[in-house]
Symmetry: C2
Subunit: 214 residues, 2 copies
Amino acid sequence: MDARLDNQPDENEDASARRRLPPKERRRQIVDGAVTFFAEVGLDGKTRDLAKRLGVTQSLLFNYFATKDDLIEAVYEKVYLDRLSPDWPERLTDRSQPLRGRLLAFYKEYSSLIFQQEWMRIFMFSGLAGAALNRRYLEHLGEVILRPLLVEIEALARGTARPSMEDVWNLHGGIVYIGIRKHIYQMPGPDDPSEAITRAVDRFLTFFDIGPED
Amino acid sequence: MDARLDNQPDENEDASARRRLPPKERRRQIVDGAVTFFAEVGLDGKTRDLAKRLGVTQSLLFNYFATKDDLIEAVYEKVYLDRLSPDWPERLTDRSQPLRGRLLAFYKEYSSLIFQQEWMRIFMFSGLAGAALNRRYLEHLGEVILRPLLVEIEALARGTARPSMEDVWNLHGGIVYIGIRKHIYQMPGPDDPSEAITRAVDRFLTFFDIGPED
DNA sequence: AATCCTGTTGATCGGATGATCTATAAATCT
DNA sequence: AGATTTATAGATCATCCGATCAACAGGATT
């Protein structure tokens, strides 16, 4: 038994990584593994299962995190961190570019960031758990992205209909729902959501009579 | 102790309902309570907590359900049952009515059925858990509601753009997302989603050049 | 090579949890 | 009213889970 005599000690992330890592690195390894693990099985996943997956003792986890909640907090931070690029607000309001192009650029970048197993599922798990971070994120998104977007649309809308925040949320929700279908409900869907996003944006702009070049 | 000598035996759901109920009724009471309970705390909610909320012993639950999974299965059935009215397919394809009216009628009815704490959260919990019922429901919805809807839109679309299933899913997702924001993310939103739904439908139909009276 | 530091393990604890089983008591029948 | 049935309670089991702690061992220092 334990015929693991293959010594390729370096650059092997999962299987080896035997013992005595620098604390920073081990901590990172644990958090990374925890993100994947909890995204898969939910935040009620057991520390023993996570440890086994990491190839590490369960007790070691508590050497790096005082409680399981602390670990989950670290998972939240890792997942939520930098999910909203700070330059989006200004790019979205850069009126030297047509609004359609700005919207498409944003949603294609954004979807590539959030349409991932880890983000989608942990975001949903934490939302269901009522995590404060979740609501803060969405409020932030609303204020920093969607509301400025509403202003842009208002400035260009030529039809009689006036856009509202609820309209913008609806555009956003329709797009996000593509990822929900795929990663939460695990339904088949387009590999590349670009086309669906383009159509959603175009439908949206058409209603307010905003052309592709403004 | 146990100064509960107030005998109003009938029609008091929660507080009293002391002992010796007919099995059918007790079972119903347990399932009803379990739906609310699991919707609140998730499917990992503890049987002891549920029992306490029901004012009943934990062991009693196992008299009605062999395992906790059986109970959850009963919760699924209760929640999923009759969430899709069988007459919607024909009402949605009744071409004697304008499509806009059909769509609005459907989504206002449907949203009133699904925009509820119990449905929204249990649907999401079961989806994350990978429950088969969840995918079956969505596949059913796609085939029985959304695909016929696509046919209706195709029949009336006058613009150059041809509608696709992905467009219909996007309309659907945008509307469902209203409920997700409210019940999963617990964000503030409109008390009555009717207006947002109307605008979503109108934006959708406008793109395909379908007027309010066809 | 011996020493020291500390990352890691293995054993274990206390409480929680799903599930079981027997005794009790409420309702029904005769 | 007494006997019978069975819904319910109470006690308990086996396991699981988060968390603790002393002992061990890898790796750098000297």
